[in-house]
Symmetry: C2
Subunit: 376 residues, 2 copies
């Protein structure tokens, strides 16, 4: 896969070797990151954003890259995460393929791509990488760490493993552990990729590429990222116009919803490394905040020390269901945190934070407005 | 695929040609069916069961076959569908592969398997086949037609197309039309089969068989047939014992829930014809009771004349969600039916009617007990 790295991206080289939780270490690994806004003199206006599985570091337009980012409506001057007030850092997850080191990167030990020789990746490694990046940027304390989806898992691990690192936390559609329905979905996505003969044990290239497997995986992802409720209103039973159908194919696309999935899949398959997908997906299945303290997720959460938290969930989310954000708020509160649980009625399911800015914007802006730090 | 047809099965040859809704017709097609209990002199104690996608006609043990059937707990002497009182008929769906004619049957015009030359199959064809079977059995009126899942669609079509055929109706986890989330799931299942190179445009055999595609399709099915709630309690994050894992495979099965899916898939893949699966699956996507009357599903339902209905749904069902059974009850009531909607708290999702007999048994027994006919 040819990597496209946005032009405003900076790179941070992780300490070498960078030890991985499940064994092994990375040499000369790097993280791609971007920043917005100015750091104030006290250094108390800094926010870190931890992403979901697929986003790059370009969350929004900035000096280095005026193109809109994946969270454009949420981040910028005067926006809910107001960069006139906050200095914001976002990085591409460790193990991803958007500038950070992952299975599609060169293994310095061999001079060839890591592929499946990349060490086993866990959410905790992403949390430790975040800590190392902040250290490298001379950031010792955050006003807030924001984590979306997989990033919500990473944020909890980050707070658990690095006590005192953040004053506050916004957890969006995250979870303190993976549950079996989500594991089943992700396992099936990985199986779709692995069953594609062109995956070839991880040894593919642009010419011989597991496009069918990636398309299946992405479609299944999109089905679980959105919601039946949204689709009832959006697509109903509308058919494709005849000029958009292939009448030669008796089982070809017929309904708008099928075409929508196909479009999502086509935009994704060549823009994300299949091995990276496998590694990141598996890391989520492994995640259980309780394991680190040999207890339950609630015990893990209660052991975290952060002053204030907003845990946001969406009623129509089937992948990270609402009770998991309730669990986060309850668990953190048991540990002394001032934690609020906010269930939202967004129809868009797990992906709502990427689209439902009418609900998410005020919630996030309101929480950040109430923080004591961060005066410009 | 080698067909296994239970020994107690009878066969009924459909009128020839049997016209299909979307065009074409079947010559010498047959339905496999079974019966339980005795027909009374008045002929007013007859119940027809219309199945979901995969079951055969052997719903329960009977004289011809003492082996337990797929609805064993529900059907038999003294059971909720009490065969001491009722004469019950169940048949394998048209287009299936368990004795009824479908894509895996011989096409008399060519002497070879139909495969994709089988005419386009719609739910309405199944409804008309049911009517023909009853006529052949000299049954002019049913005390009750019971339809589960896809059979719930077939039952509504049957009642719409054949007015006066039934006094009452039990619709279990059925729907008056397919909605986009379910269409998306089924479309992806079909794509998994079609992407398997061994599907080969429908031209496979036992040696070269699309096993991977069928396994994917079945796993995705099972994920949507059950519920996250059930699996949280049943599997949690329990790992497989090391002797059940393949440590050589870095992305192999690790969690109990993955092994559960794998077991389901393995039991299914060689026991259901892939082309039949494609045809039946697509027929559900096409189904819309409103289309037949050029109106809405509610208008279609209001046009049905049946005296009493029980529409049962399950709160955890994501494939045929609860509001669809509510819609059935409301729509039939608008047409003058005495219709009851019964939402159940079963944790098992769409498949609950196959396992949660503590909830389904009394509901069905109670409804049947209240029917005026059917004295032995």
């Amino acid at each position: 896969m040819t990597e496209f790295i946005p032009p405003g991206t900076h790179y941070f080289t992780l300490p070498s070797p960078f030890p991985m939780k499940r064994g092994g270490g990375l040499h000369g690994a790097r993280l791609a990151y971007e920043t917005w806004g100015e750091r104030n003199a006290a250094g108390d206006n800094i926010i870190l954003i931890l992403t979901g599985l697929s986003p790059d570091a370009h969350a929004a337009a900035n000096v280095g890259n005026p193109e809109p980012g994946w969270w454009e409506a949420m981040l910028g001057p005067g926006k809910p995460i107001d960069t006139d007030r906050w200095h914001v850092v976002c990085f591409n997850a460790l193990g991803s393929c958007k500038g950070s080191t992952g299975p599609a990167s060169i293994n310095p030990a061999t001079g060839t791509l890591y592929r499946l020789d990349f060490p086993e990746l866990s959410v905790e490694d992403g949390a430790d990488a975040a800590r190392a990046l902040l250290h490298g940027l001379s950031i010792e304390r955050l006003a807030c760490v924001i984590g979306n989806s997989m990033g919500g898992m990473t944020a909890l691990s980050f707070l658990q493993r690095h006590p005192g690192i953040a004053h506050s936390h916004i957890n969006i559609s995250g979870a303190a552990r993976a549950l079996p329905f989500s594991i089943a979905i992700r396992s099936l996505q990985r199986e779709a990729i692995r069953l594609d003969p062109l995956w070839n044990g991880g040894d593919y290239d642009d010419e011989r590429y597991p496009e069918s497997g990636m398309r299946m995986a992405r479609k299944l992802g999109v089905i679980t990222y959105r919601s039946a409720l949204e689709w009832d209103g959006r697509f109903g039973r509308v058919r494709l116009d005849s000029d958009r159908r292939d009448d030669e194919d008796p089982f070809g696309l017929e309904f708008e919803v099928e075409s929508y999935l196909e479009g999502h899949a086509r935009r994704f398959v060549r823009n994300f490394d299949p091995n990276s997908y496998l590694y990141l997906s598996r890391s989520m299945d492994w995640f259980d905040l309780g394991e680190s303290c040999h207890g339950s997720p609630s015990q893990g959460l209660a052991g975290i020390h952060v002053a204030r938290t907003l845990a946001i969930g969406v009623r129509t989310d089937i992948l990270f269901p609402l009770q998991q954000q309730q669990e986060i708020a309850d668990g953190l509160r048991a540990g002394g945190c001032q934690a609020e649980f906010l269930p939202l009625d967004s129809p868009q399911g797990h992906d709502a934070f990427l689209v439902d800015f009418d609900r998410f914007g005020p919630a996030i802006a309101g929480f950040l407005a109430g923080l004591p730090d961060g005066s410009p």
